[in-house]
């Protein structure tokens, strides 16, 4: 859709939404949010961009193929589950570092797991939507 207004708005909305997505991801452990919603918001940001600028532009802007997020995210989640096994605890046991980080709270395997979820959700949403809209957006 050739709308200057939408284009401009989405250009500025994109970083805001992405930042917001990461925010939602990281605070999930303490407040509503988490990897899912975070991932969905991030993908919505890109989808909006694609509506405004066309799919080709959005793909050009992205430094990665969205579907690559899927295996990477899955691998991160899976590895965060394997880590406890390496020290002899059951799969997916929560292992925490002692340092505290603002917003996020403690750093531990569940956090990495959630980051994996985040990536997978971005990957799948974008793969699905971009595949469907290939040639029409």
């Amino acid at each position: 859709m050739k709308s200057i207004i939408l284009k401009t708005a989405s250009t500025y909305l994109l970083p805001l939404l992405l930042l917001f997505a990461v925010f939602i991801l990281l605070r999930g452990h303490y407040n509503p949010g988490g990897g899912f919603v975070g991932g969905l918001i991030a993908s919505i940001a890109f989808v909006l961009h694609a509506f405004a600028h066309g799919l080709v532009e959005t793909k050009k802007m992205l430094r990665f193929v969205p579907s690559a997020c899927i295996p990477v995210g899955l691998a991160i989640s899976l590895i965060s589950g394997f880590v406890p096994m390496a020290i002899g605890r059951p799969f997916m046991s929560g292992e925490w570092l002692s340092v505290q980080v603002p917003i996020i709270g403690s750093i531990g395997t569940p956090l990495f797991f959630d980051i994996g979820v985040f990536l997978v959700v971005i990957g799948i949403t974008l793969t699905i939507l971009f595949t469907i809209s290939d040639g029409i957006l």
Binding site: M1, K2, S3, I5, L6, K7, A9, Y12, L13, H53
Partner: protein, 132 residues
């Protein structure tokens, strides 16, 4: 005291929202309804949010309220523009008592390219620089 303030703000907000709601029912054509809703709701909800900010009176809540309002202000006009334009393109009629319709016939039927009709002579010479 704070409670009274909250009550006032929220009442005004709710009233604005209610008026927008009445407006969307009462207005005779699509464009008028759109016109009423976009901002009335934004203003009304902004006031309701403000009352929340006053009530909680913490920085995180204030930030959130600011962010929500900011998003609404940023997106509501754009959304109005998008749907209004789509409505016009798809042939939504103006109210029969409308005064003027400068848009009539300005959309190219196939490409949906919108013409401006001013400076017809100039157009040949200087094409817009940043046309994507």
């Amino acid at each position: 005291m704070i409670d009274i303030l909250i009550m006032i703000i929220s009442t005004v907000g709710a009233l604005v929202v209610l008026i927008a709601a009445i407006g969307i029912v009462r207005m005779p054509d699509f464009y008028l309804r759109l016109s009423v809703t976009v901002k009335a709701a934004t203003l009304g909800v902004g006031l309701l949010l403000l009352s929340a900010a006053v009530y909680f009176a913490t920085l995180p809540v204030a930030t959130k309220v600011f962010a929500i309002t900011f998003f609404l202000i940023l997106t509501a006009p754009v959304a109005g523009h998008m749907i209004g334009r789509a409505a016009y393109i798809t042939g939504t009629k103006l109210w029969k008592h409308s005064v003027v319709d400068d848009l009539e016939g300005k959309y190219d039927k196939d490409t949906l390219e919108l013409r401006s009709d001013i400076d017809q002579a100039d157009r040949e010479g200087e094409l817009p620089a940043s046309n994507t």
